[in-house]
Assembly symmetry: C2
Homo-oligomer: 180 residues x 2
């Protein structure tokens, strides 16, 4: 991301809230272009995502319940960075927890902002190769409801057109495809 | 998105805030899998995005200041749905306001969730064809700081790998490419 050495000027603070996984604030700001107004922001520690590719060309995908949408989505495994944690560490853990696979090789696909209109979250994407199923997969987080499946590229694209795949997963798929 | 006819059960409400463009709430929930906890949610009316394709194969992109990141990103033109507004209406207006182009033809690319871990926002994507520059482009929103540029597909991919492109834009590019 291009930096500009000009931060928004904080004029007032209306609300500051620290949630379980991220913070939320509402503040009066003056932007570098002079615009003033009330702006709301999610403060997020960032995330990491794996694009897990099997030897036969299929992708490992998780089917996950998402309470804001009250439904299930198809997503690449991903997780929120713990304080001070490197994204490589996060994603090794999350891949094993969410899918029961371990990757022998990782390729860095860079990071991208998820919802920059109102969140500072960026997600770091990695292509995960040389996948082997763990004999004893670790336990999932208690608040997660996840199934693992494998999908061919064309089936994943069809699911994306049907609205069953989220933006980070489509983005990760796109970055991975341009490297394959 | 797959619906499941099972909504999270609301146990308590800790915070409810209505911002300029979306709402925020923190509540104790019991999820369909039985997990209980405090969950934070962005309530967003949804958005619409254009993937504007010029006759020479280049894409029209906006370079936009994003205050949560305190920097500029390259994005496809997009906007938030006004109350009761169809996404086709939103995106026609936003394309003209943000880029000064009008599209003669639109193709529906479907919609996808943006940040389903904490937001109910989905964005509806359209391929915008037959672009003509407006003689008198409409005024931009006062709080926007936007430049229009055109980019070849390979340059847009390179910018994505450099972290200068957001998830919805990479997703829209990916869906558009699979239809071109």
């Amino acid at each position: 991301m291009t930096s500009h050495h000009q931060a928004p000027q904080r004029l007032s603070e209306r609300l500051r809230y620290q949630g379980r996984k991220f913070g939320f604030e509402a503040a009066g700001l003056r932007l570098p272009n002079g615009a003033e107004g009330e702006f709301e922001t999610i403060r997020h520690p960032g995330g990491a995502m794996a694009v897990p590719l099997l030897a036969d060309g299929r992708f490992v995908v998780v089917r996950q319940y998402r309470f804001p949408l009250e439904g299930w989505l198809l997503e690449f495994p991903a997780g929120t960075l713990e304080p001070g944690e490197a994204p490589e560490t996060t994603i090794r853990r999350e891949l094993e927890e969410e899918t029961g696979y371990r990757a022998g090789r990782w390729s860095d696909l860079g990071s991208f902002p998820l919802a920059p209109a109102y969140s500072d979250e960026s997600i770091h994407a990695y292509l995960a190769w040389d996948l082997t199923p763990l004999a004893a997969p670790p336990a999932q987080d208690a608040d997660e409801d996840i199934q693992t499946l494998t999908m061919a590229a064309l089936d994943l694209e069809a699911a994306a057109f049907a609205g069953e795949v989220d933006a980070k997963t489509i983005g990760g798929y796109c970055l991975a495809r341009s490297r394959l």
